[in-house]
Amino acid sequence: MTLLQVEQLKKVYPDGTVGLKGISFELEAGEFVAVIGPSGAGKSTLLRCLNRMVESSSGTITLQGNTITKVKAKQLRAVRRKMGMIFQGYNLVARSTVLTNVLHGRLGYMNSLKGALGLFNKQDTELAKALLNKVGLSEQMYKRADELSGGQQQRVGIARALAQRPALILADEPIASLDPAASQTVMQTLYEACKADGIACLCNLHQVEVAKKFATRIIGIRAGEKVFDGAPEQLTDEMISYIYEGAKHEEAVGRKETA
């Protein structure tokens, strides 16, 4: 069964800026899809429209057969917990412990008061500890999140997303702030975790090489439009330069440096 179906997704911001110009694609369970494109092409907007952190202007999103474009409140919370999210800036609660940060992935399943007071049950705590073991951070469990290095913090971010027991992970430039070695570990961790549990992943990436290495499929976005959708082998150099064509000069230089 198709996990996620996106049809004619459009986003126009209140100031008139067009973020997405009608994007359609489907995602099967267990796929690891890299979304590439220059900054400002609409990659972040696309991911945030999917879990409704940003409201799309038109189009439909169907998750596991249910249209989620218009769901509200309680149902929206249920939709969001099926989609784990990973951020460029990790977005951990710096003063809380690593374990607590992972447990935050369970908040979507808890009632308001229990969640607020942090009354996580035993299974949740066991799950969080197991996930920390999986991402190789069980030693750091009781440290404050901001005592960890960038790469470690992003692995905590991955564990938090996995704690949601998601069907899909949305990763927004997960390695853009990391050095090459840490990038490698983070991508490997993410890839293996998704593969092991059959979780689909939609991963925004800046680095084409990384996308080619891990993705089972690549989607290229340019100025809010999907211009490529296919296997990594099909992504030719001509296509890459077409995707990034028209992007600002600094952008092109920046890409070479991070690649």
């Binding site: 999210m85 977005n91 009632n111 308001s112 607020a116 007071l117």
Partner: protein, 252 residues
């Protein structure tokens, strides 16, 4: 540059006009200087004979400040999360709370205490209420400011987990803002203690009453003793508060 000159000359004109309009009698400044010297000589040496009354009144002032500040902290804590623009459940609610706070702040504590004396009579209770109302007005404002400085990414991350509003606030926002909020509480207590010493002068209990009592009876030596006690009280609280703030800054 031309504009700056224009503003400056306008300010100067206003200042001179005010000075002329108020028609000070400058000879009084001179004679006042001698009177002041005379008064100071009446103050010395300070008379501590009434120390039991002064000290118990001082303790009452501290108690009024503590109760007023703590009640204000509790109220402000809950309301500030509704007032902070980044996590308020509804912008209208945020505006309403902020509006009410501005209103509370625009009325000085001394006026509040007069209002409450009319309502609940003399004694420490109107003092507590006045301190509380004044502190709520300013604490909600500064609490909300600190909450608004919390990293937007953290809020986004917790929202993306499907967490409820309360979960986002207590698990995500609070740990990030906590030290800032505590620092504001300490600072507010310093200010409230200073204010609670004055409130007694209009009949709301505490050491201020002792001060106005001594002054009205022309017992300037007793008044000086009360002044010294107030100084020691406020100063020692400031010392402790500065220590606390340093410790908090280290934990950052």
């Amino acid at each position: 540059m031309g504009k700056l000159k224009l503003y400056f000359s306008a300010c100067l004109v206003v200042f001179v006009l005010c000075l002329l309009q108020l028609q000070f009698d400058y000879s009084k400044l001179w004679s006042g200087l001698f009177k002041l010297g005379n008064t100071i000589s009446l103050m010395l040496p300070p008379d501590a004979s009434q120390w039991q009354y002064v000290l118990s009144a001082a303790i009452e002032s501290v108690q009024v400040a503590i109760i007023g500040t703590v009640l204000a902290i509790v109220c402000s804590f809950f309301l500030s999360f509704l007032a902070a623009s980044n996590i308020t459940p509804h912008p209208a609610l945020s505006w309403a709370i902020r509006g009410i706070c501005s209103l509370l702040r625009s009325i000085p504590t001394l006026i509040w205490v007069l209002i409450f004396i009319v309502a609940v009579g003399l004694g420490p209770l109107p003092g507590v209420l006045a301190i509380m109302i004044g502190a709520i007005g300013s604490l909600i404002k500064v609490f909300a400011q600190s909450i608004e400085e919390v990293d937007e990414g953290v809020i986004e991350a917790l929202r993306a987990t499907g967490s409820s509003w309360l979960g986002i606030v207590i698990q995500g926002v609070l740990p990030c803002a906590l030290t800032a909020l505590l620092a504001w509480c300490v600072m507010r207590f310093e200010g409230d203690l200073a204010e609670s010493t004055i409130l007694g002068t209009v009949g709301a209990g505490g050491i201020g009453y002792e001060l106005s009592h001594a002054m009205r009876g022309y017992r300037y030596d007793q008044a000086l003793f009360v002044g010294i006690v107030i100084f020691v009280m406020v100063f020692s609280v400031e010392l402790v508060a500065n220590r606390l703030k340093l410790k908090m800054a280290k934990r950052l």
